[in-house]
């Protein structure tokens, strides 16, 4: 088993055979890999199948109408197995917090489901709340927090059981520019400090360049990997944001996206 690869996707195809969408080819021969401990973004026009790909990498169930070909491996295992093995932490576009639980209880949720002892759960949650500066909000209800804070809690929840790999599907799409940048810095810190591997889905070019070491550009339906761009900039990125190389990457990816959308 090749342990340097966190995710490998090989010749992956997805077809939808719905009533209205006969043979809708969404993903076509997608192949890429994500190195262990790296930060990779997937960018593509909306509706190109990013969420579909995300779901399949996460090992989530698919509808009957979904026809799949090819292979996805996470640390050499099938996504479902990796999910059972608690290798995957999912962060969805919506924070998806339970309103009938407090912030602390929401972070505790996966631990409870996975059968951690109560004492251990408490310890983990306290530590996480502390390190994420969420302690003052631990007894708040999700609806009492701003969108950014809610997403932060959902990141905390994903970190609770310490998965190796974080999968994020446009987690900050609903945030304003300032909050998005704040959360971007936050997620980079988490990635560095906790030594995670992150696969980040976005449709925002700035965000992709600001965050990742590698950006995978998908074309429109049926999506293929149009280009892969290695971002050779050092972290923290707010220090290199003004330099011409940074803008060159943004321009390059914008051009690819334009070409891929036509």
């Amino acid at each position: 088993m090749d342990n340097s690869k966190a995710i490998t996707v090989e010749n992956f195809n997805v077809l939808f055979n719905g009533d209205r969408t006969k043979h809708l080819h969404v993903l076509e021969n997608i192949s890429f890999d994500v190195k262990n401990s790296s930060f990779v973004s997937i960018i593509g026009p909306s509706g190109c199948g990013k969420s579909t790909l995300f779901r399949l990498i996460s090992g989530l169930p698919t509808k009957d109408s979904c026809e799949i070909g090819g292979k996805i491996r996470i640390y050499g295992r099938k996504p479902e197995t990796a999910s059972k093995n608690r290798d995957l932490g999912l962060i969805l576009q919506k924070p998806t917090l339970l309103e009938w639980r407090t912030v602390a209880e929401n972070i505790e949720l996966p631990l409870e489901i996975m059968g951690y002892q109560k004492e251990k759960r408490g310890k983990i949650v306290t530590k996480l709340l502390n390190s994420m500066d969420l302690t003052p909000y631990s007894h708040y209800r999700p609806s009492e927090l701003s969108g950014g804070m809610q997403q932060k809690v959902s990141i905390g929840r994903a970190l609770a059981y310490n998965p190796k790999l974080l999968l994020m599907d446009e987690p900050f799409a609903a945030l304003d520019e300032v909050n998005r940048r704040r959360m971007n810095n936050e997620i980079i810190n988490i990635w560095k400090e906790m030594n995670k591997t992150i696969l980040f889905v976005t449709h925002n070019i700035q965000e992709a360049v600001y965050l990742s070491q590698k950006v995978i550009v998908l074309s429109k339906k049926p999506s293929t990997v149009y280009k892969t761009v290695e971002i050779d900039l050092k972290y923290p990125r707010n220090e290199v944001e003004g330099c011409s190389k940074y803008f060159k990457y943004i321009k390059e990816i914008r051009e690819y996206l334009n070409e891929a959308s036509n």
């Binding site: 169930p61 999910s83 059972k84 969805l92 919506k94 998806t96 339970l98 009938w100 489901i113 209800r141």
Partner: protein, 283 residues
């Protein structure tokens, strides 16, 4: 942030809401009392003026006479006054209500999970809504007997449809991101049930309970007519009507209305309390 909250709470404490509220409600009660007395007086005067007989419309004085006779003058042993009979009807209604809630939720969950069972079961459930329960009563009675169980069965038959439908609708409309997230933690059905499905049913069940308050009492009273249930206010109203004891019919009807209203108010308060405190099923 916490400091801000405490500040707010303090402010709330300072506000003289409590006494103000009491004053307001006393005022309200007085107005209602005044209206009631005026109405009764007008009613009494009108009926006396036009000399309308008791068997068509009883005067308030007739009703009061009946009430004193029924409740304040001792009866022979074993006599059940209309309040006791009403409470028997209420008991049956409550039993049917509870069974409908539990059984209806179970069926709702099962037909949500299994579309095959849904397609088989739904026409029958729908049929229970099309056939009026009183019309069905004799048939069920000949099959199951004329007693208590048939009555409960009919109440459940009358109530269960709305529970099943609202439970299923709630489950169908569960936000997909929540089901996916839970699935990523554990694909087991048990965890899904415990952490997502049951909590999200709470507000639905509470509002369905409000709906069933009057429904179950109506069903309880109506089903007493064709059955040979001895104690029940429905049967009593029917018998009194046949014997032309009209004041008794009137007072019984008012009594069961008041009981129904109180039941409804209790459930409403309970609903508000639970929804506010626990926030189950709020997405």
């Amino acid at each position: 942030m916490n400091a801000l909250r405490k500040e707010k709470n303090k402010e709330r404490e300072k506000r003289p809401t409590r006494s103000f509220f009491l004053n307001k409600s006393i005022k309200k009660i007085l107005i209602y009392l005044f209206l009631l007395i005026t109405l009764l007086t007008i009613w009494q005067i009108l009926l006396e003026y036009f000399d309308i007989p008791k068997r068509i419309a009883p005067k308030p004085s007739d009703l009061f006479n009946f009430i004193t006779k029924e409740f304040f003058i001792p009866h022979s042993q074993g006599y059940q006054n209309i309040l006791v009979k009403s409470l028997f009807s209420l008991r049956d209604a409550l039993l049917g209500f509870l069974i409908s809630l539990i059984l209806g939720s179970l069926i709702g969950i099962v037909i949500f999970k299994n579309t095959y069972i849904y397609s088989i079961l739904f026409p029958f459930l729908f049929l229970t809504q099309l056939i009026p329960v009183p019309a069905l009563a004799p048939i069920v009675a000949t099959l199951l007997g004329y007693g208590f169980f048939t009555k409960i069965f009919l109440i459940v038959l009358f109530c269960i449809f709305s529970v099943v439908v609202s439970v299923r609708n709630t489950l169908i409309n569960l936000p997909e991101n929540y089901t996916l997230l839970l699935h990523s933690y554990s694909p087991s059905r048990k965890e899904f049930l415990k952490y997502l499905l049951l909590p999200s049913l709470v507000p639905t069940l509470l509002s369905t309970m409000k709906l069933l308050c009057s429904g179950s009492i109506v069903a309880s009273i109506i089903t007493e007519l064709p059955l040979s249930v001895k104690t029940g206010i429905g049967k009593d109203i029917y018998n009194s009507f046949n014997n032309q004891i009209i004041p008794r019919v009137w007072v019984s009807t008012m009594l069961i209305s008041i009981i129904s209203l109180l039941f409804f108010i209790c459930i409403s308060k309970f609903e508000k309390y639970i929804n506010k405190k626990y926030r189950y099923g709020q997405f």
